[in-house]
């Protein structure tokens, strides 16, 4: 009889311990995913922002004084010129946001590739973004309507960039937690905004 009680007790304690460990494992995995996802988003955003910010700061470098610097300025695309390698050859750089259908492999249905194209080379994806918004301002702070009219491209003095990156991989929620209009999954996200980016070469 004593053995039976010992076995039953051990089984109950063992089962309880397994349940606790299972719950702890779930929590640890979820936290691990969250932290990893946050870091992934952070790194994706910073890399894209660095490239974009660096290139926009150089807009017009090596370009003659009375020659156009920005060739196309729209809400989610921009084409400008500068001498990338400072080798005396002026290059044309183009940034644009792709379509959501171009990233079918990710769980996030909102992310799109951010393309960078130099001269006539093949466009390269330099990141995945969910928001890529450009605003153009004149020296007097007037916000130019997009796409900016060709006659007013030379008036652009500063560019405001807003960029959001979301985790391509979701943290799924149980159906009971999803309210009307909400997405069925959570995505960590990070927003970056450069409100007054003025190239030194645009100030002259």
């Amino acid at each position: 009889m004593q053995y039976v009680i010992d076995y039953l007790g051990a089984a109950i304690l063992g089962a309880a311990l397994l349940l606790i460990i299972n719950a702890a494992n779930d929590a640890a995995s979820e936290n691990n995913s969250l932290y990893n996802g946050d870091m992934l988003v952070q790194e994706m955003l910073v890399n894209s922002a660095y490239l974009l910010e660096g290139e926009l700061r150089n807009m017009g470098a090596g370009v003659g004084e009375n020659k156009p610097t920005i060739l196309l300025a729209d809400t989610s695309e921009i084409r400008f010129v500068y001498d990338i390698g400072l080798d005396g050859i002026v290059d044309t750089v183009y940034y644009a946001m792709g379509l959501t259908s171009e990233l079918p492999g990710t769980q996030n249905e909102l992310d799109r590739p951010l393309y960078r194209r130099v001269n006539l080379e093949q466009p390269l994806s330099v990141g995945a973004v969910t928001v890529f918004n450009l605003k153009y301002l004149t020296k007097l702070g007037e916000v130019l309507a997009t796409p900016v009219d060709a006659a007013r491209l030379t008036e652009i003095h500063t560019v405001e960039i807003t960029m959001e990156v979301q985790n391509p991989y979701a943290i799924l929620r149980s159906p009971g937690m999803v309210r009307a209009g909400e997405r069925n999954a959570l995505y960590s996200s990070s927003l970056w905004q450069q409100t007054r980016l003025a190239s030194q070469n645009m100030k002259r």
Binding site: L17, A24, N25, Y35, D38, Y50, G54, N58, S199, N201
Partner: protein, 419 residues
């Protein structure tokens, strides 16, 4: 048996949980590391920009400085930058600034390169009045100048002469403003200690224009300008040598580049309808009024008078009752003034519409207080059309502006290496 199993279970789960805990800790550490890397990267960029600005400041203070300098910073912007100013093969300076920052896992470097535009060529007609040497002549109450004024020497002032545009001088005002009776009125301010604006070393540029597309003579000649009919740009110039007509030049002749020159004294008078520069490697002599046919602000008539030694208002009967000059005057090594200005009776006013640039300030009269004793009273007006850098007499002398305008500001692209 049961005790051993329990021990294995406890140790096993401890290892498992320890592993999970380590992973979480690593993620947190990496996020922190990324933040540090990002901060270091920003500092690196800011230091490089700072170095470029320091170099620019140094270059603008001393345009001849060339060299390399390293500066270390502590505190928030911990790191260093090295800036250098070197010469490009063209002789134009180039500024390079490189930062150095120790990030947690790497040494970061950013580079900023600044290139300058070529020096620009400006016409002397941009100045209403300019001298290399003012001498002992003073600006006094009643003198009013419209247009920019510059002297490579000291401007002497007493009372309240009025300057409607900016005044610049290399050596300052005498006495300094507000002292010793200097109450000059500067409507657009003044600046002292500015860089010398060098005169050309000779008049070869305009002389070449006279021989290539213009008219070049030797010896003394007389140029009589005629406005032609009321039609625009149909004026002509008659050139005499020893009293004999030697040339007739239509201002609208497409093969004529607008420059007439001679190696001797050139006497000038008449009315101009067109664009013309007259120069002499010795002196110009203004024997009567020189006027534009169209004297309104919408006129396209423009005349440049350029001489090596002097431009003088002749002491003759036509000039004894006022003198009208519509022209820009440039005397490279001498002065503009009136012949025998210190003798005879007063001759009225000199009404000049244009600009005056001369090596040494000359005189047109003598005064007792504000009353003219001999020669002329000055009534000088700057021809506002000349403030447009593109509007100038043909081949008129100019100077190079060495202001080093920034033409290119280039920054290296830096990508932080995340963990």
């Amino acid at each position: 048996m049961g005790g051993k199993a329990a021990l294995i279970v406890v140790v096993g789960f401890s290892v498992l949980l320890g592993f999970v805990s380590r992973n979480l800790s690593l993620v947190a550490t990496r996020a922190q590391g990324n933040m540090s890397t990002y901060t270091a990267s920003t500092i690196s960029h800011n230091l490089a920009v700072m170095g470029a600005n320091v170099a620019l400041s140094r270059l603008y203070q001393d345009t001849t400085w060339r060299g390399t300098q390293t500066q270390s910073l502590g505190g928030t912007l911990s790191g260093e930058f090295t800036y250098s100013v070197t010469n490009m093969p063209s002789g134009s300076p180039v500024v390079r600034s490189v930062s150095l920052v120790q990030a947690p896992d790497e040494v970061m470097q950013d580079t900023v390169v600044v290139l300058f535009g070529s020096t620009s060529y400006q016409s002397f007609t941009l100045f209403a009045w300019m001298t290399n040497i003012e001498g002992n002549i003073w600006w006094i109450t009643g003198d009013t100048v419209w247009g920019r004024v510059h002297s490579n020497s000291t401007l002497n002032m007493t009372g309240s002469p009025t300057f409607m545009e900016k005044v610049t001088t290399t050596k300052g005002l005498n006495p300094t403003w507000g002292t010793g009776g200097n109450t000059a009125v500067f409507k657009e301010g003044y600046e002292t200690g500015v860089a010398t604006i060098n005169f050309p070393t000779d008049l070869s540029q305009i002389a070449s224009a006279a021989t290539a597309g213009g008219r070049a003579y030797t010896g003394d000649v007389t140029v009589t300008l005629n406005g032609g009919t009321a039609t625009d740009n149909d004026g002509y110039a008659l050139v005499y040598s020893g009293g004999v007509l030697v040339d007739s030049i239509m201002m609208n002749d497409a093969t004529f580049n607008g420059v007439i020159g001679s190696t001797g004294k050139v006497s000038i008078s008449g009315t101009l309808d067109g664009r013309l520069s007259i120069f002499s490697t010795t002196s110009l002599y203004l024997t009567d009024d020189i006027l534009y046919e169209n004297r309104t602000s919408g006129s396209n008539d423009v005349l440049g008078l350029v001489a090596e030694n002097s431009i003088l208002i002749a002491d003759n009967v036509p000039n004894h009752t006022d003198m009208y000059i519509d022209a820009s005057i440039f005397v490279r090594s001498g002065s503009y003034g009136a012949e025998n200005y210190s003798s005879g009776t007063p001759r009225g006013n000199v009404y000049l519409n244009g600009s005056i640039v001369q090596n040494k300030r000359g005189a047109v009269g003598t005064f007792s207080g504000s009353t003219v004793s001999t020669g002329y009273l000055k009534r000088y007006h700057y021809d506002l059309r000349l403030s447009d850098p593109l509007f100038r007499p043909p081949s008129y002398p100019g100077f190079y502006v060495t202001s080093y305008p920034v033409a290119t500001w280039w920054e290296s692209l830096h990508f932080p290496k995340f963990n």
